[in-house]
C-alpha cells in the first residue's frame, strides 16, 4: 500500500450541470509513466487537472470521491493547496512561460517558497535547466526574455520551472500538442529520463506517443475509465471492444 502514488476511488466531477467524470477508480504507481488516452471531451484533462487542484480556479467546478495522494485526501479541508501544487507539478498544453527572463521563470517558484540566497538560486536554476535538457541551448543568455524561445524550448523551460520546486509527481496535459515532431521527440526522451525520479501522468491525443513513453495506459471515454493496465497489454491485446476500436483508429 505504501508503494502507491495516487489512489482514486469513484471520482466524479462536473462543470455546473455537466458531469464530465462519472466515477473513476484508478491506482497510479510511483516512478512510472501513466498515459491517459481518449477522444476529445472524454474527461482526461479534467481528471489530470483535478490532481493538483488547478481546476479549483474554475468557479463552476465540483468534485467528489476519494482522491488520495500518498494516503492523504487531496480535497481535504486541511490540505495546503500551495504545498500540494509544489509537490505535484504540472506542465500545460500550450507552453506558458512568464513574460520574463529565462532565469526569472525558474527562480520564481523558488522565491515564492522562500529561497533568497543568490548562489542557491543559481545552482537550482542550472540544475533544473540541465534536467530539462535545455541548459546547453540557453546557458549564455539566461537574462533573455523567455518569449523569444521557440515553442519546444518554451515547453522545456516550463518543465524546468516545474522541476525547480522539487516536486514528486509531474502532470503533463498534452505537452506536445503545440509542438513539431523534433521538439516532441525531445520531450518524450525527457519524460523517459524523468521517470526514474518522478511519478508521471501524461494526457495525450497521440496513441503512438502513449505507446512510446508509458508503462501504464488508461483509456477514457465519455467520462469513464474504460480500460486500464500495462501499456504493452493494452496496445497488443485490449480487453474492451471500445478500446480496440479506438486504438485501431475505427473512431475518435
Amino acid at each position: 500500500m505504501n508503494n502507491v502514488a495516487f489512489n482514486i476511488t469513484r471520482m466524479r466531477a462536473s462543470y455546473g450541470n455537466k458531469e464530465v467524470l462519472k466515477g473513476i477508480t484508478i491506482t497510479i504507481l510511483p516512478n512510472s509513466v501513466t498515459a491517459l488516452i481518449g477522444p476529445s471531451g472524454c474527461g482526461k484533462s479534467t481528471f489530470i487537472r483535478s490532481l493538483n487542484r488547478i481546476n479549483d480556479l474554475i468557479p463552476s467546478f465540483r468534485i467528489s470521491g476519494d482522491i488520495l495522494y500518498r494516503q492523504k485526501d487531496i480535497y481535504d479541508q486541511e490540505t495546503d493547496v500551495v504545498e500540494l501544487r509544489r509537490r505535484i507539478g504540472m506542465v500545460f498544453q500550450k507552453p506558458n512561460p512568464f513574460p520574463k527572463s529565462i532565469y526569472e521563470n525558474i527562480a520564481y517558484g523558488l522565491r515564492i517558497h522562500g529561497f533568497t540566497i543568490k548562489e542557491t538560486l543559481d545552482e537550482i536554476v542550472e540544475a533544473s535547466l540541465k534536467k530539462a535538457a535545455l541548459w546547453d541551448e540557453v546557458k549564455d543568455n539566461l537574462k533573455q526574455n523567455a518569449l523569444t524561445l521557440s515553442g519546444g524550448q518554451q515547453q522545456r523551460l516550463c518543465i524546468a520551472r516545474t522541476l525547480a520546486t522539487q516536486p514528486e509527481a509531474l502532470l503533463f496535459d498534452e505537452p506536445c500538442s503545440a509542438l513539431d515532431p523534433i521538439s516532441t521527440a525531445k520531450i518524450e526522451e525527457l519524460i523517459h529520463h524523468l521517470k526514474k525520479s518522478y511519478t508521471i501522468i501524461i494526457v495525450t491525443h497521440n496513441m503512438q506517443q502513449a505507446a512510446r513513453v508509458s508503462d501504464y495506459s488508461g483509456f477514457f471515454l465519455l467520462g469513464e475509465l474504460v480500460e486500464f493496465g500495462k501499456t504493452q497489454d493494452m496496445f497488443t491485446a485490449p480487453k474492451d471492444k471500445r478500446t480496440e476500436d479506438y486504438i485501431t483508429g475505427r473512431f475518435g
Binding site: 488547478i54 480556479l57 501544487r85 506558458n96 512568464f98 520574463k100 520564481y108 517558484g109 515564492i112 525547480a164
Partner: protein, 302 residues
C-alpha cells in the same frame, strides 16, 4: 450594368468617403492649432510663465495657474491611482462573479460617462462644504480624483483582463498564492497598459474646467500654495509641510477661461498663449502613454 463594375464603383466610393471623413477631422484640428498658435505664440516667454495674473494683459502670466495645475494633478494622482488600481484588482481578480459585483460594474461604467460638472457639484457639496475643505487644493484634487476614478478602474480592469489565463495557471501550478500571482505575474505584465490608461485619464483631467469652477476655484491668485518642502539656512535645513493642500488655487483651464471672457484684446492673446501651454502638457502626457504602449507591445507577444 455589369454587377462587377457596380461593386467596383461602390468600393471606390466608400474609400473616397472614408478619406473625406478622416481629412475633415484632421483639418478642423489643424485649423484650431494654427489659429491658437498665430494668436498666442508672440506672448509666450519666460516672463509669461513666471508672472502672476495682472490687470494689465502684457504683464499678466500663468505662474499661479501652472503651479496650481501641478498641485491638483499630484493630489489627484496620489488619491485616484491607489484607489482605482486597487478596486480594479479586487473586481477583476478577487470578487466573486455575482449580481452584486455585476451591479457595481455597471455603476462604474455609467459613472465614467457622467458629465464632469456633476462631479463638480458633488465636490462642492461633499468636500468644500461638508468636509469644510473650502476652495482648497485638496478639495480640487479630491474632486478630480473621483472624476477620473471610474476611467482608471475600467482601463486597469481591461489591462488585467488582457493577461492570458495561462499565466495565472502557470503561477498557481508552481504553488503561488493568489496574491503572489497577482503581484509578481499579473500586475507586472499589465503595468504598461495600466499606466497608459492612467496617463490618458490624467491628461483628460488636466483640461477639466467645469468641476473646478463649480467648486469655486479662484481665478485671480497672486500667491502660490506653500510648497511641501522648503529650505532654510538654519537647522534642520529642510522643512516639510502639507499646508499647501489647504491653500486656495487656480489652474490653467480656469485662467484661460477667465481671460477668454475679458473684453480687452490683450487678454485673448494671453488666453491663446495659455492654451498652447495646456496643449503642450496634454500632448506630452499622451506621447508618454503612446510610448509606454508601444514598448509593452514590443516586449510581450503571447
Amino acid at each position: 450594368m455589369n454587377r462587377k463594375i457596380v461593386n467596383k464603383r461602390l468600393d471606390s466610393l466608400f474609400k473616397a468617403l472614408g478619406i473625406l471623413t478622416t481629412v475633415f477631422g484632421i483639418l478642423v484640428l489643424l485649423v484650431l492649432f494654427i489659429d491658437v498658435f498665430l494668436d498666442g505664440a508672440s506672448r509666450l516667454s519666460m516672463n509669461f510663465l513666471t508672472s502672476f495674473p495682472s490687470r494689465k494683459p502684457e504683464a499678466a502670466g500663468i505662474l499661479s495657474a501652472w503651479v496650481g495645475t501641478i498641485w491638483i494633478m499630484a493630489v489627484t494622482a496620489l488619491i485616484a491611482l491607489p484607489l482605482g488600481i486597487g478596486s480594479a484588482i479586487y473586481l477583476e481578480e478577487y470578487a466573486p462573479k455575482n449580481r452584486l459585483t455585476g451591479l457595481i460594474e455597471i455603476s462604474i461604467a455609467n459613472l465614467a460617462g457622467v458629465p464632469s460638472v456633476i462631479f463638480g457639484l458633488l465636490g462642492l457639496g461633499l468636500f468644500v462644504r461638508w468636509f469644510n475643505l473650502d476652495r482648497s487644493v485638496l478639495a480640487g484634487g479630491l474632486t478630480l480624483a473621483i472624476l477620473v476614478l471610474p476611467v482608471i478602474i475600467l482601463s486597469t480592469r481591461e489591462a488585467l483582463r488582457a493577461i492570458p489565463f495561462s499565466i495565472r495557471e502557470a503561477s498557481y501550478a508552481v504553488g503561488a498564492t493568489k496574491w503572489q500571482t497577482v503581484y509578481f505575474q499579473v500586475l507586472p505584465a499589465a503595468l504598461g497598459n495600466i499606466m497608459t490608461g492612467v496617463i490618458l485619464a490624467m491628461s483628460r483631467a488636466v483640461g477639466e474646467t467645469a468641476p473646478l469652477i463649480t467648486i469655486g476655484a479662484l481665478t485671480y491668485i497672486a500667491f502660490l500654495p506653500q510648497p511641501p518642502v522648503t529650505f532654510s539656512g538654519g537647522f534642520p535645513f529642510m522643512h516639510f509641510s502639507l499646508q499647501g493642500l489647504f491653500d486656495p488655487f487656480t489652474a490653467l483651464p480656469i485662467q484661460i477661461f477667465n481671460w477668454v471672457s475679458r473684453p480687452q484684446k490683450g487678454f485673448s492673446v494671453n488666453a491663446s498663449a495659455g492654451i498652447i501651454v495646456l496643449l503642450g502638457i496634454t500632448l506630452a502626457m499622451n506621447s508618454i502613454a503612446i510610448i509606454l504602449r508601444y514598448r509593452q507591445r514590443k516586449k510581450t507577444r503571447w
